[in-house]
């Protein structure tokens, strides 16, 4: 199969959807000739023109709000925010408007929009351009939240997000943009709410999403050398969450490490851990649920400190071993 980058996979999904449906358009800062802050929309303005690749002023609330209003009146907009940190500025439109409109209006109206935005650290962009704030949006009923870890998943999930009649926050990890994977050229869709077992194993489950997935897979490879069999479950979408696949895996292995890049305190890993604790998997647990997450500080600039802020492969190996020693 053809190998392309995560970034190209996202672009291909966008282009295919735009060719198929005139209601789909993109709006955001510098997405035109510039091609977007991370180059995802590069070349698209040539094919689709400035009406549908709609370059905006630096106005996150205006961008998100225009997306909400156009979605409510029959378009299927895709808003791009340059960095997921800027969702703070767009949050009224996402949390108070997009998420609630249908419910507040008694089931009338729908907001079929996608807010795409790069999240995460690892680029040295420091505290205001490196955060993972997915727990904020996952907390709000009415929004759906997607976090693909591969180009293959990104393409299939983005198509599903665009087809969805609800507001979807679509996180792209900025350090994954350059990673390559097998991505079919044809159109395909991955349903929101369907986890993927990235690697099967029997001793410990690691639940990881976004950039934590490749790290978990690397950790699993290392641990295999020591005879430890790790199963890696990637939920891919946080809302809706595929609880069944996670519970099934943990019931099988009896041990679980939940890993994410976002600050551990109040992070979505807490939700996953609680869900497991409340589920039938509890009876199968042979060790306490272990959570790995970002340190309780803003993301530092210094590369070593930045690295230390978020879980790395050795942290995962250590965590897995800890759960095994707590039999």
């Amino acid at each position: 199969m053809r190998e392309i980058t995560y970034s190209e996979a996202v672009r291909e999904a966008l282009s295919q959807e735009m060719r198929k449906n005139d209601d789909v358009f993109i709006l955001g800062e510098d997405i035109g000739v510039y091609g977007g802050a991370f180059g995802v929309t590069r070349g698209m303005i040539e094919e689709f023109g400035p009406d549908r690749i709609r370059n905006t002023p630096i106005s996150e609330s205006g961008i998100a709000g225009a997306a909400v209003g156009s979605a409510l009146t029959g378009m299927r907009p895709i808003a791009e925010l340059q960095f997921s940190d800027f969702i703070t500025i767009a949050l009224d439109q996402m949390a108070n408007q997009a998420a609630k409109i249908r419910y507040m209006y008694g089931g009338k109206g729908k907001v079929p929009m996608v807010l795409r935005t790069p999240s995460g650290s690892g680029t040295g962009a420091a505290a205001q351009h490196s955060q993972s704030l997915e727990a904020w949006v996952a907390h709000v009923p009415g929004l759906k939240v997607v976090q693909p870890s591969t180009g293959y998943d990104a393409k299939g999930l983005l198509k599903a997000a665009i087809d969805d009649d609800n507001p979807v926050i679509f996180y792209e990890h900025k350090t994954l943009y350059g990673t390559k994977s097998d991505v079919p050229e044809e159109q395909y869709s991955i349903p929101l709410g369907q986890a993927d077992i990235k690697r099967e194993g029997t001793d410990v489950t690691i639940v990881a999403y976004a950039v934590m997935v490749p790290r978990a897979l690397e950790a699993a490879k290392e641990l295999e050398k020591e005879g430890i069999s790790v199963e890696v479950v990637d939920p891919r979408t946080l809302v809706p969450l595929d609880k069944e696949t996670i519970v099934k895996s943990v019931s099988k292995t009896g041990r679980v490490v939940v890993a994410h890049e976002a600050v551990k305190r109040g992070g979505y890993g807490g939700e996953i851990a609680s869900m497991i604790a409340e589920s039938d998997a509890f009876d199968f647990l042979d060790a306490p649920i272990k959570r790995l997450g970002g340190a309780e500080s803003p993301i530092p600039y210094n590369p070593e400190l930045e690295k230390a802020h978020v879980p790395q492969v050795p942290d995962m190996i250590k965590a897995v071993k800890e759960t095994l020693n707590k039999a």
């Binding site: 358009f25 009406d51 549908r52 905006t56 002023p57 106005s59 996150e60 609330s61 205006g62 998100a64 709000g65 225009a66 997306a67 909400v68 209003g69 156009s70 979605a71 409510l72 009146t73 029959g74 378009m75 907009p77 500025i89 009224d92 439109q93 108070n96 408007q97 409109i101 249908r102 419910y103 507040m104 209006y105 008694g106 089931g107 009338k108 109206g109 729908k110 907001v111 079929p112 009923p141 009415g142 759906k144 009649d165 609800n166």
Partner: protein, 327 residues
């Protein structure tokens, strides 16, 4: 005070009489809500537009069903002016399933998307970017509709206002920003909170048309809005109309109105928009005193019927709690 009713083109005498009735319906609706709130029959909070009937009715007078509005927390008048019926509105305030939002939205979220009411909004300035999105749809799909965006003086100090007006301006969108300047954003006097003489002056900062209207004179409101609607439909872009008006009641029910004087209130009550319109209609031989009184009584009866409808409507059950969160 204007006595001229020949200013507005294409408005039949019947339509003017309908508008007179509509203003009474708005007045009686909010007075009834006031009464019921005091008796504890309506919970939550309500924001009454008594005294602001002319700006709502005047701005919507020349709109079609296809045209859209976005509204504010003080939205009952806009809602009625856009064609909503008081029975389903009252039922909504009573929290009944027959209400516009099945009892889930309440006073601040009434919407009727089928007739172009994209919804009231509990967030100050929250609906402004949304209106821009609605206008963007019109432009992209080449629809003929315009979007009238209501907000108060307080909203013009929110970032969302500036982002949205700027976007509408650079994209030449068919949206009419109607600022109902009732002198107060909660307790904040507009002269303390802004340093411009007229909010309409802010239009210049965005390169769009601005106009000050007498918000207590429905004829002036119709004329100013009509000009803006024409411009919008002709592809000449957005306008900002400032309707100078006054809310007779406090901000909401918990407001002791310590920030203003009885004299000021009486001064504005003397400019009662309904009384003024009645005089205009009588002077122009469109109404007689008797006919005007009949209309007033009919409007009152409509509200009494609405109350009966609401009181006899069913309450939602717990089964309704989780419906309509997602489309």
């Amino acid at each position: 005070m204007t006595k001229d009713v020949t200013l507005v083109p294409d408005v039949s005498q019947d339509k003017l009489v309908d508008l007179y009735k509509q203003m009474w319906v708005i007045r009686f609706f909010d007075e009834k809500v006031d009464e019921f709130f005091a008796k504890g029959m309506i919970h939550g909070t309500t924001h009454l537009a008594v005294g602001q009937e002319a700006s709502a009715a005047g701005a919507c007078a020349l709109l079609d069903n296809e045209d859209k509005i976005t509204s504010t927390h003080r939205g009952h008048g806009h809602c009625i002016a856009k064609g909503a019926t008081p029975d389903k509105m009252m039922a909504e305030l009573f929290g009944r399933t027959t209400g516009y939002c099945k009892g889930k939205g309440g006073s601040m979220h009434i919407a009727d998307i089928d007739i172009g009411n994209l919804g009231a909004n509990g967030i100050v300035a929250g609906g402004i970017p949304l209106a821009v999105g609605s206008a963007l749809t019109a432009k992209m799909k080449k629809h003929d509709y315009v979007t009238v965006c209501f907000f108060g003086d307080g909203a013009t100090n929110e970032g969302s206002f500036h982002e949205a007006v700027n976007l509408a301006s650079i994209w030449d969108l068919p949206v009419i920003f109607v600022c109902e300047n009732n002198l107060y954003g909660m307790s904040g006097n507009v002269n303390e909170m802004t340093n411009v003489k007229n909010i309409a002056d802010r239009a210049a900062a965005y390169g769009i048309q601005g106009a000050v209207a007498d918000g207590n004179d429905i004829v002036d409101m119709m004329n100013k809005t009509n000009d803006a609607v024409d411009r919008a439909r002709n592809g000449e872009g957005p306008s900002l109309i400032e309707a100078k008006t006054y809310r007779w009641k406090g901000h909401s029910k918990s407001d002791a109105k310590k920030y203003r004087t009885r004299e000021e209130e009486n001064e504005w009550k003397a400019k009662d928009p309904i009384k003024r319109f009645r005089e205009v209609l009588i002077e122009a031989d469109i109404l007689t005193e008797e006919k005007a009184e009949e209309i007033r009584k009919a409007a009152k009866k409509e509200i009494e019927d609405a109350v009966e409808f609401a009181e006899n409507s069913p309450m939602p059950t717990e089964d309704d709690l989780l419906t309509d969160v997602y489309a």
